[in-house]
Symmetry: C2
Subunit: 228 residues, 2 copies
């Protein structure tokens, strides 16, 4: 730390990529966009990414990516730093180190945003992710691992639920992410006992069966809990 950064040492560009996840049609999905950067990447799917600008922190860049590339209001998404990828040849042209972010957005919003997208942007089922540009396949895998692991002991899943929801919807989110079925009674007891949600007393309408009570989160602050 006893040498400052001379201009010639500024060899690595700094970027941010976002792995934005949602649960749509009961499947965990990731936002992908197609890039066209010959010779290495001709019409190749990739995560949204950008260099970090001089007046931005890494998370600022992540928010800008959501807004600019996917027209997603960053207020609608939860973002947390995932991992910094620094493999020397991760970008075939320049040395670029990337601070990857994990993003989450409720499926209800994801579906709406999707309608405004051009063809080179989509929600992609995590089971069907094609080979991605750069090391973005690693990033996506890391993000899904993190999500699966954190969902069991934090309230991170809450970033993927709408303001109000039924317990069945919440359970379906957990089932989609963990990719396994959960017991209805045990799940309900658990999430209610934790004390992070409360009923808003209203019931869902327009369904041809017994209407479910609606719930909301008491706090959106990220917390360590023990969900499952």
């Amino acid at each position: 730390m006893n040498k400052r950064a001379p201009e010639k040492m500024r060899f690595a560009a700094l970027a941010t990529d976002v792995v934005l996840c949602t649960v749509l049609d009961e499947k965990l999905k990731v936002l992908l966009m197609q890039i066209d950067l010959p010779p290495h990447y001709k019409n190749t799917w990739a995560l949204p990414g950008s260099l970090i600008r001089p007046n931005e922190t890494a998370i600022d860049t992540a928010k800008r990516l959501l807004a600019d590339k996917a027209k997603i209001d960053p207020k609608h998404a939860y973002l947390e730093q995932l991992y910094t990828f620094s493999r020397i040849d991760r970008d075939p042209r320049n040395r670029v180190v990337s601070v990857a972010y994990l993003g989450l957005i409720p499926g209800s919003r994801a579906a709406i945003y999707e309608r405004s997208w051009p063809k080179n942007m989509k929600w992609c089922d995590i089971e069907k992710i094609p080979s991605l540009a750069y090391d973005h396949t690693d990033m996506a895998r890391t993000a899904v691992e993190r999500l699966k692991s954190k969902i069991a002991y934090t309230n991170i899943a809450f970033g993927m639920m709408p303001e109000q929801f039924t317990l069945t919807e919440l359970q379906e989110l957990y089932e989609a992410i963990l990719n396994k079925e959960l017991d209805k009674r045990n799940f309900r007891r658990k999430v209610i006992d934790i004390g992070l949600i409360e009923t808003v007393k209203n019931k869902i309408t327009g369904v041809a069966h017994r209407p479910a009570l609606l719930y909301r989160f008491k706090s959106k602050k990220s917390q360590i809990i023990d969900v499952l």
Copy 2:
């Protein structure tokens, strides 16, 4: 991602800082070194850090820091990426983004290395950390939080134990990090039931009381478990 990095965009230097932790004298400690970089930092304590070199990944830099600054063989330490700090003014002179690493080293080795250090390098009790340069206080706090949280559900503590150890020594490590006393019988039952350690059958020698059995880890691979 459709613009490559032109020279003028290479505004941020990239660095790595290491929060190297150990347990010594039953206290959790962090490696600090004094830097002298007027006008901002005159003889100020800081974490070991360096710019990332063109041919290095972030973890390569972390290993080099251990070797060059503290004369510590990186093979003796466990390193994991902690967090990337990108606050715009975190370095008062230049824009520097830092990929921080959490490092762990057994107390037995920490004590030996310490003897070879000059006065501007020391193990500092985490309860007594002075005000550090840059955002290094944040880094140290983040590292300790991470360590405290991961010790309960991973085998991360194993990076701080010597090859062979007694169960009492292992328990003292947990107590130092968690800063609370644990029940001897329950602790022993738990760590043995987990199946990550095994006795080497030998007993510790040179103690004026009943000698303890020595144990070792079956695997050093990082694992998700449930220690406490």
